[in-house]
């Protein structure tokens, strides 16, 4: 077996989930190489060479990849190096999810998406139906192209490694798509899908203004703010807040559901959270079935008290 791991990074550091992704090939054994497409990103390369188990960090330095992972360009570069690898791994973040399937089709490979467990070199476990069912799939392909859900595996160690570094030539741009720019989120709260704590509101919040109560608590907890589809459909918040099967799937250490009844499609997006708190005045609400701690109370009484208690 020989593995190539495509590294998602921001020129300075690895993206969340990359260290977890690396544990999949290291668990299987064989040669493990890392591929870095970037521009003057020595810090990233140095982080990787220190990871025990990585053989070679293959680096393509081109201004083309300066903070931009245009799929058409990245796959052209990947195509020039992937021959001979039994497994090509990506982190299932928005970089990996954009690039991996394009590479897979170029290689005539059926990709295996978003795995949460490696059974053996050809057998993988992945959630389907937003985690409401778990499938074990076996591949009979000579090359496997796989994306790994970052939160599912333990991260690898990052010290005492001695990987070599190999520079590889850039194949240049495919000239199909131009990177124009990025807009990072306007608030200082953590990003919903990678936050350690998420506090979400549902239809019970009653209005857009009332979401400010959640925002104030979120700022005290260093949490991200989410919402149920019902709250989005009611127009309280925009769609990017949506947690659920049709929104974002989150798995924070702590998920606080406020005024959320617990529709199936919402549960699908948050039930892998480590601890779930439900605050709802309806004691029969389905959300209590998945909650570790349930508080039956009017949220308009609970939220001010919670905010005050966090001072």
């Amino acid at each position: 077996m020989n593995h190539l791991v495509f590294i998602s990074h921001d020129q300075q550091s690895l993206m969340p989930g990359v260290l977890n992704t690396l544990s999949a090939p290291l668990q299987l054994g064989g040669t493990v190489d890392a591929l870095v497409l970037g521009h003057q990103c020595d810090a990233v390369v140095n982080t990787l060479t220190a990871i025990p188990g990585i053989s070679t960090v293959r680096v393509c330095d081109d201004a083309l990849y300066n903070n931009a992972f245009v799929a058409e360009d990245c796959t052209a570069q990947l195509q020039s190096v992937v021959e001979g690898y039994s497994h090509v791994w990506f982190t299932a973040d928005t970089i990996g999810k954009n690039i991996a399937p394009r590479l897979a089709a170029m290689r005539d490979v059926q990709q295996i998406s978003d795995i949460i467990e490696v059974r053996d070199a050809q057998t993988f476990v992945r959630p389907i139906y937003a985690g409401n069912a778990i499938a074990t799939v076996k591949s009979d392909q000579v090359q496997n192209i796989i994306t790994v859900r970052g939160t599912a595996l333990e991260p690898v160690a990052t010290e005492n490694g001695s990987a070599g570094v190999e520079a590889i030539a850039s194949v240049g741009s495919a000239n199909l798509t131009q990177y124009v720019g990025a807009e990072t989120s306007s608030n200082d709260r953590p990003e919903l899908s990678s936050a350690k704590i998420v506090i979400s509101g549902g239809r019970g919040m009653q209005s857009s203004d009332n979401f400010q109560m959640l925002e104030r608590i979120a700022d005290k907890l260093g949490a991200a703010v989410g919402a149920s589809r019902a709250a989005v459909d009611a127009g309280f918040v925009t769609n990017d807040y949506q947690v659920g099967q049709t929104g974002k799937v989150v798995a924070p250490d702590l998920y606080i559901a406020v005024g959320i009844s617990g529709a199936i499609q919402h549960l699908a997006g948050m039930k892998d959270s480590k601890f779930i708190v439900a605050i709802n005045k309806d004691e029969d609400a389905p959300i209590f079935q998945v909650a570790d701690y349930g508080l039956v109370i009017d949220l308009f009484d609970a939220l001010p008290e919670l905010e005050a208690a966090l001072d």
Binding site: Q110, S113, Y129, N132, D140, Q141, A182, Y293
Partner: protein
């Protein structure tokens, strides 16, 4: 006098018609192909089959994949804005996929193509079928949802773009057309990314792009009369042999039953000492 007025009116009308014709000849709006999938409705609690072979889809409410509704909406909006000449809705799957095509037609797509395959056809194969249809129909833009909420693969759009050698924009929440350039805003981890694509291109869409319209009853009736072709994968020269074998499909691990707390103070106490998350 009357004759003169008639002549003048006629000349004006003729000029107007000619102008109009010239205008429509000058800009050649593209065809749009939109790919839609029939999936278990997002509000249904899925049940794993007793023999662990998959998820029960018999006698279960099915709907258009939510992200594909956004794709259909965007295609119809582009046509309404005069930027598309025709919207073709494609669905690939068992016979009942035609219901999903009818939904797209009721939303405003002009005609449908159904490619009959078995349930669970893999994304690579779906992409090959779509490629064959693209070569036949020559659209300037293919729109589809960013992922289907059944197998959650998130692959088809990117694979189709690769097979055609076209530009791709995935997870798109903003789209504008300027001649041969598409300006797309993508939802990426931690924010938004803007890219410019050269058409023809494939765009996979996210929820924030638009709000899909509800089909009105008259439009649902009209949709029944719109043309809908049916083909097989073999007709398009694509074999559907799967590359992956599903060994088993099981329920996710159940969460242990939690406890009820009586006050906010008790809740905070438990989060600090028991869960240790605060």
């Amino acid at each position: 006098m009357l004759v003169f007025v008639c002549l003048v009116t006629g000349a004006v009308l003729f000029t107007l018609l000619k102008l109009n014709r010239n205008i429509s000849l000058k800009k050649v709006p593209m065809k749009i192909l939109v790919a839609v999938k029939r999936v278990v409705d997002y509000n249904v609690r899925v049940r794993v089959k007793a023999d662990k072979s998959g998820v029960e889809t018999q006698n279960v409410k099915m709907s258009m994949n939510p992200f594909d509704e956004n794709a259909t909406e965007e295609a119809v909006k582009l046509k309404e804005a005069g930027l598309a000449s025709e919207v073709i809705a494609v669905s690939i799957g068992p016979d009942k996929a035609q219901e999903t095509i009818r939904t797209a037609l009721a939303m405003g797509a002009d005609r449908g193509i159904h490619v009959v395959t078995e349930e669970g056809t893999e994304p690579l194969c779906i992409a090959k079928i779509l490629k064959a249809l693209v070569e036949k129909e020559q659209p300037g833009l293919v729109l589809t949802g960013k992922q289907a909420i059944d197998d959650d693969s998130n692959q088809t759009a990117q694979m189709l773009a690769a097979l055609l050698g076209w530009a791709q924009a995935t997870f798109v929440s903003g789209l504008s057309v300027e001649g041969n350039t598409l300006n797309a805003t993508r939802e990426v981890d931690g924010g938004l990314e803007k890219i410019a694509l050269t058409t023809p291109a494939i765009v996979s869409v996210d929820l924030r792009l638009n709000t899909p319209r509800y089909a009105s009853l008259p439009n649902i009736m009209k949709a029944k009369k719109k043309p809908l072709d049916s083909l097989s994968a073999e007709d398009l020269g694509v074999t559907t042999t799967p590359r992956l074998t599903i060994l088993e499909v099981v329920d996710p691990p159940q969460r242990a039953t939690g406890v009820k707390v009586s006050s906010v103070a008790e809740l905070i106490e438990k989060l600090k000492t028991e869960a240790e998350v605060l």
